[in-house]
C-alpha cells in the first residue's frame, strides 16, 4: 500500500477507512523490507505500537493524527535514544523532547524511527556516521549511491516511502542537497523560524531545522507545524507563522525571479544547466519575470563557511567530555587523560578534523586572521542577497553540482567533498530560506534538484513558486 500525500492519508483516517494501527503495521512492514538500506539508526516496533494507543485517543482534528514521520537522529527525543550518529553519544537517552519533535507529537504524528546522518551533521554523503553508510533507495544493486548528507537518512526515508515526511537540519545544505540526491522535496526555512532547542548543536549561527516530504503541499503542512517562537532558543524569532498550505498559490504573475550569473560554475554537467534552463523557461511561461542578477561574493561563501562552521563546532562539541552522558573511555588514569582518550575514541575522523580546524582558527594570534575575517566576508555575502532582493522576489539556482554519486567514490580530498555545498552554503550564511524540489533527471535516470531562495521569513513565496514548478512533472 502506498500513500501519496498527507492530505490523502488524513482523509482516509477521518473517514475511518484506515486505523492508526493499520498505518503503523503498513510502515513497520515497509521499513523491515528496506532494512538493507541502513536508513534508520533506531527502529523499534514496540515503540511504534505504544504510540498507536496514545494517538488513537486523540481527536480527528489533530492535523497530523496518524501521519508517519521519521526523525533525524540529531533531534533529542524522550522516548527514543539520540546518538547524532556518533559513538560519543551511544546510549544517550535525552531527558527532554526537542521543540520541533514535541510540536509534531502534539499534532498526533506517528514517529517511525530515528534516521541516519553524518556524525554530528558533518558531511555531504551520510558516510561519516558511526552506524555505517545509508544507501540511496534509487540505487541499483550493482552501483550503490550516496543519499547525500548530512540528513541522508531522512531524505532516503521519504524516497523509499518509509514515512510521509521527515525532519532534517540544514547548516550548509544538509537538507537541500540530500533532497536533490533522493528526488524529494526539502525545505530549510529562515534561520530562527524553528527553535533549535533540543537539536544537538553543530554551528549555532547556521543550524536550522526543516522538512523532507514527497511534495510541496506536504512540506508546507509540516513546516507550519514545526515553526514558531520558543523562549528556550535565544535566536528563535517571534514572527507570526502563515498558514502556508491554505495559501498555496501557483500564480506567478508580477513575480520577478533572479538568476545569479555566479552559479554558472566550471565543471557542472550540461544536464544540470539544462534542467536549470527548463525551470527558468517554465517560470517565465507561468507569468514570472526573469531577471539576470549578480551575487558578487558567491565564490567566497565556501571558504567562509569552512571557517565559521568548524569554529562554532569546536566550541559546541566541547561539552562531550565523557562526564555527563554518552561514551567514556575507561582506561584513563587522570581526568585530563579521560577527556583526551574519550574524545579521541568517541569522535570520528571528520568531526576531529573540524574540531581541530575550529580550535586553530579561534586560537590566540589567529582569531582575527581567520574567524573575524570570515565573519566580515559573511556580512558581504548577506548584503549581496539583501541588495538583490530589492529587485527580485526569488532566486532560482541548481541545488547540487551533481546527481547522487557512487557510495564508494573516493573521498580522500576534503575540499572536493566540501564543493558539494557550493550552491547551498551562500543562503545558509545569509540565513535566508531555501527549498530543493526534484526537477528532471540525468541520463542515468537519477533525479536532479533545483533550488529556490527567498527573503527572510518569506517561505510562502518559495512554496508558491515550487508548487507551480512541481506541476511540470505531475
Amino acid at each position: 500500500m502506498e500513500f501519496k500525500s498527507i492530505n490523502q492519508l488524513k482523509s482516509l483516517i477521518d473517514e475511518n477507512k484506515i486505523s492508526v494501527k493499520e498505518i503503523a503495521q503498513t510502515y513497520i512492514k515497509k521499513i523491515k523490507e528496506k532494512k538493507d538500506l541502513n536508513i534508520f539508526i533506531y527502529f523499534d516496533e514496540d515503540k511504534i505500537n505504544n504510540q498507536v494507543t496514545e494517538i488513537e485517543k486523540l481527536p480527528n482534528h489533530k492535523k497530523l493524527k496518524g501521519i508517519p514521520i521519521a526523525v533525524k537522529d540529531l533531534f533529542c527525543t524522550k522516548n527514543m535514544p539520540t546518538t547524532a550518529a556518533s559513538k560519543i553519544l551511544e546510549n544517550f537517552n535525552p531527558t527532554y523532547e526537542s521543540f520541533v519533535t514535541q510540536k509534531l507529537i502534539n499534532e498526533g504524528s506517528l514517529f517511525v524511527g530515528k534516521t541516519n546522518l553524518d556524525e554530528f551533521a558533518m558531511g555531504s554523503a551520510t558516510n561519516t556516521s558511526y552506524f555505517g553508510n545509508t544507501i540511496n533507495p534509487l540505487s541499483n544493486k550493482d552501483n550503490p549511491l550516496a543519499p547525500g548528507g548530512s540528513s541522508g537518512g531522512s531524505a532516503a526515508a521519504v524516497a523509499a516511502d518509509l514515512c510521509l515526511g521527515s525532519t532534517g537540519t540544514d547548516t550548509g545544505g544538509s537538507i537541500r542537497q540530500p533532497a536533490s540526491f533522493c528526488g524529494v522535496v526539502g525545505i530549510k526555512p529562515t534561520y530562527g523560524l524553528c527553535s533549535r532547542w533540543g537539536i544537538a548543536a553543530f554551528a549555532s549561527s547556521l543550524d536550522q531545522a526543516g522538512i523532507f516530504s514527497k511534495n510541496v503541499t506536504d512540506a508546507s503542512i509540516l513546516l507550519e507545524e514545526i515553526a514558531g517562537y520558543d523562549e528556550r532558543d535565544s535566536t528563535s524569532s517571534n514572527v507570526s507563522i502563515p498558514n502556508y498550505s491554505k495559501q498555496l498559490n501557483s500564480k506567478l504573475n508580477g513575480k520577478t525571479i533572479g538568476i545569479p550569473k555566479e552559479y554558472t560554475v566550471d565543471g557542472i554537467s550540461d544536464e544540470i544547466n539544462a534542467v536549470w534552463d527548463d525551470a527558468i523557461k517554465s517560470l517565465e511561461k507561468k507569468g514570472a519575470k526573469i531577471k539576470h542578477i549578480s551575487l558578487p561574493h558567491t565564490k567566497y561563501a565556501l571558504p567562509t563557511y569552512y571557517i565559521i562552521a568548524p569554529a562554532e563546532a569546536s566550541s559546541n562539541l566541547a561539552r562531550y567530555d565523557g562526564v555527563k552522558y554518552g561514551f567514556r573511555a575507561d582506561e584513563a588514569k587522570s581526568l585530563d587523560e579521560m577527556y583526551e582518550i574519550t574524545r579521541s575514541e568517541g569522535f570520528g575522523k571528520e568531526v576531529k578534523r573540524r574540531i581541530l580546524i575550529g580550535t586553530y582558527v579561534l586560537s590566540a594570534g589567529y582569531y582575527d586572521a581567520y574567524y573575524l575575517k570570515a565573519q566580515k566576508v559573511r556580512k558581504l555575502i548577506a548584503n549581496d542577497f539583501i541588495e538583490t532582493f530589492k529587485e527580485c522576489d526569488l532566486i532560482l539556482t541548481p541545488t547540487a553540482p551533481s546527481a547522487a554519486f557512487p557510495l564508494n567514490e573516493k573521498q580522500d580530498d576534503p575540499i572536493k567533498m566540501y564543493l558539494n555545498d557550493v550552491f547551498t552554503v551562500p543562503a545558509s550564511l545569509a540565513g535566508i530560506p531555501g527549498i530543493s524540489i526534484p526537477y528532471g533527471k540525468d541520463k542515468n535516470g537519477l533525479p536532479l534538484g533545483i533550488q529556490l531562495l527567498g527573503k527572510h521569513f518569506n517561505e510562502q513565496e518559495i512554496f508558491n513558486a515550487s508548487f507551480a514548478l512541481e506541476k511540470d512533472y505531475e
Binding site: 531527558t95 523562549e231 569552512y306 566541547a318 555527563k324 581541530l356 580550535t359 586553530y360 566580515k376
Partner: protein
C-alpha cells in the same frame, strides 16, 4: 605549509583530543590544504565591514529571568557513565 606536527599536537591538546602519530600526519596534510584554500578570503577588502555574528533580521525578544525546575537530578544522572551519591564521578584529581 602553515602547520607543523608540533602545532597540530598543541591544537589537539587544547581541544582535549589525543592523536596517534598517523592521525596527526593525516590531519596535518588535510588541515594545511584547507587553510591554504581559505586564504582566498584575503582577496576581499573588508576594511570598513562589520563582522556578522547574528543574521536574524527580526528583533529577538528576551525571556524573563526566572528559575524553572525542569529536570530532576536523578533523571540527568541516569545518562552519566559514572556517578556517586548524586554527583558525576570522574577519575581522581587530587592525590
Amino acid at each position: 605549509m602553515k602547520l607543523d606536527t608540533n602545532t597540530i599536537n598543541k591544537i589537539a591538546k587544547l581541544a582535549r583530543i589525543s592523536l596517534s602519530e598517523k592521525e596527526a600526519n593525516d590531519l596535518l596534510k588535510d588541515m594545511n590544504s584547507i587553510l591554504d584554500w581559505v586564504e582566498q578570503l584575503n582577496e576581499v577588502n573588508t576594511d570598513s565591514v562589520e563582522p556578522l555574528a547574528n543574521i536574524s533580521s527580526s528583533t529577538l525578544p528576551q525571556r524573563k529571568d526566572e528559575a524553572k525546575d525542569i529536570n530532576s537530578s536523578d533523571e540527568i544522572l541516569k545518562n552519566s557513565p559514572d556517578k556517586l551519591e548524586g554527583y558525576f564521578a570522574v577519575p581522581k584529581v587530587v592525590e
